[in-house]
Amino acid sequence: MTPGSNRSAGLLFALSVCLVGVAAMGDRSGAAEQAAGTVADTSRIVSIGGDVTEILYALHAAPKIVAVDTTSTFPGKALKEKKSVGYMRALSTEGVLSTNPTVIIAAADAGPPEVVSALKSSSVPYVEVPDVPTPEGIAEKIRLVAAALGAEEEAKALARDVARDFNALADQRRSITKPVRALFVLSVQNGRAMVAGSGTAADAIFALAGAENAAAQINGYKPLADEAAVELAPDVIVAMQNPVPGNEPRKMLELPLFRSTPAAVNKRLIEMDGNYLLNFGPRAGQAARDLMQALYPTLSRSAKGSGQ
């Protein structure tokens, strides 16, 4: 490059360094106040995350909730009777604070990070609830939310119910002799299927329901190549309910990529509510049980968990 462009490059570099320097000086941790214990005032709760809202309702804390995020689809009345602070990954600092919360209880997934950091540094206690898709993870979520509320008694009952669901499930799982190969199809676009590989919530619920994930060698949610579908040879396809006409899950079995799979030949498609199945709240045990019963219709129905 010429001397002139070298100078330009130098100027650019200097400016870059300047920006990096200022930004790096900035607050990194956001003064995260991890409220692990009881929050003094829980009269106005903002609940962010479908699982968090579900736990709050299950702990009878619904009257204290002032706002929820748009992923809080269960119970169905939550989004109707509470204000919505928008999608959990696209929150607004002033929006959340405008509901005058005395505590914010949020899934670890909440974002954007700058807003979460600003909320954490505000005077409102911020309780972060990690999301681990296992029975232990759910117990931990319940424990954290209950600790914030000071609702240990209700939490014990809820945790007991949840544990009972999972124990019953584990008993039933032991009676499975030949696990079926199931494939979770998130969506179909232009005849191409997006499937759930390992490391997804669908993979975790399959394990609980005693199914083998046919797409286990894939990591995360990925579009599936046509020939790979034949290779995976799923016995059952599991999909989320979709009431949109023309895009119903049952149409999947007619797709060329699935037509020759055992699932399509035997017309085995299970449709379930996506949030119920995947959000790993207190109903995860029941969801896994429902899935197991759909996967193994001949299995004994005796050991039912606490129904709802």
Partner: protein
């Protein structure tokens, strides 16, 4: 300022045009001031500006636990957000005006020299790989990893572009434009590749980032972009004469005594720095950079002595207006700024273009 205008652009109606240019700048400044006050006064919480004296008094007295919430909302949320919106609007509009002038192409937007594409690619890399191989970077810079990556990515793309198009001390404007398109396409395809490899969480963030937002405004970000604001104020007035020369073509500009190479280089550097900083703090915000300069040209004519300052003021005002709407329409939730910008601006622009043509370019 009149001495900086080449004689050839001075039409018979010099006085008329000069008066109109000044009126447009004055009107834009008034609009901007109004928008800035509005931006500080409205929001989801209903805290309004009349509590400001109390907040400042408490701040100076060092007390003020009773106005802590108002202080947080006015001084820690709305004020940095207002300043950032103004910077982003100004940076994109001025860059758009400079790019359209340099390339003499009404379709040129601030991203044409590859800066947006490079910034997007780097930001998306950090978002998608933040839990994997990029984790050390993310843990080092925390919530600023994405803005820093975006800025450096934008700079890198532009440096590559200038590097490959500069031959014998000469940057060919035509080659720059085409190579910019090629680099943007390459970045886009790499972006697609990363999106393919991302998990659903990263995909959601990626999508939200490309829609643009000022929700993460903070004083740190304001400080980080402040030098670029100073850069615009200092550098841009010096480019007026050169850009006016380019209106006639590169060769003509040379014969008019414009230092064409220096002008090109400064314009590219200023644009890359400003757009890089704007994208870093707000994500991708389209439309503004291409539309505001056109709108201004319809009002003032093509003289950059008026186009550049009016674009700066009007760009800031439009960004503020769009951000106010983004904040309050679905409160306490928030709309992506990029979407609001297009919804507000596109119909107005279409109306103007159909009615008046594209003033002065193309």
């Amino acid at each position: 300022m009149s001495a900086a205008i080449p004689a050839a652009t001075l039409s018979v109606a010099i006085g008329e045009r000069r008066r109109r240019g000044r009126n447009v700048i004055t009107a834009s400044a008034i609009l901007l001031a109004a928008m800035a006050v509005l931006s500080l006064s409205v929001g989801a919480t209903g805290v309004s500006l009349d509590v400001l004296p109390g907040v400042i008094a408490d701040l100076l007295a060092g007390s003020g636990t009773d106005t802590a919430r108002e202080r947080l909302i006015l001084l820690e949320i709305r004020l940095p957000r207002t300043l950032l919106a103004m910077f982003v609007g100004t940076a994109l509009a001025v860059s758009g005006a400079m790019m359209q002038g340099l390339f003499r192409n009404p379709l040129a937007d601030p991203g044409v020299i590859g800066v947006s594409a490079g910034a997007a690619l780097a930001a998306v890399c950090v978002i998608a790989l933040g839990h994997g191989i990029a984790a050390p970077v993310v843990s080092l810079f925390g919530i600023y990893a994405v803005p820093i990556a975006a800025f450096l990515g934008g700079m890198a793309a532009t440096m590559v572009l200038v590097g490959i198009t500069a031959r014998h001390g000469h940057i060919s404007v035509g080659t720059l434009l085409l190579a910019g398109i090629a680099i943007a396409a390459l970045a886009q395809s790499l972006l697609g590749l990363i999106a393919f490899a991302s998990d659903d969480r990263a995909l959601r963030d990626l999508t939200l980032w490309t829609l643009g937002s000022l929700a993460g405004a903070s004083w740190t970000k304001v400080l980080a972009v402040a030098p670029f604001g100073v850069l615009i104020v200092l550098l841009v007035p010096r480019l007026v004469r050169g850009l006016n020369g380019f209106l006639f073509g590169e060769a003509e500009a040379f014969h008019l005594g414009v230092e064409v190479e220096k002008t090109k280089r400064l314009v590219v550097v200023a644009t890359a720095a400003c757009v890089g900083a704007a994208v870093a703090v707000a994500g991708i915000i389209g439309f503004l950079g291409i539309v505001v300069p056109h709108f201004v040209r319809l009002l003032t004519g093509p003289d950059h002595a008026y186009v550049l300052p009016a674009s700066a003021l009007l760009g800031a005002a439009l960004a503020l207006g769009a951000d106010i709407a983004a904040r309050i329409v679905v409160a306490p939730a928030e709309l992506p700024l990029g979407i609001v910008m297009a919804i507000i601006g596109a119909p107005i622009f279409l109306h103007l273009v159909l009615k008046r043509g594209i003033g002065g370019l193309g």
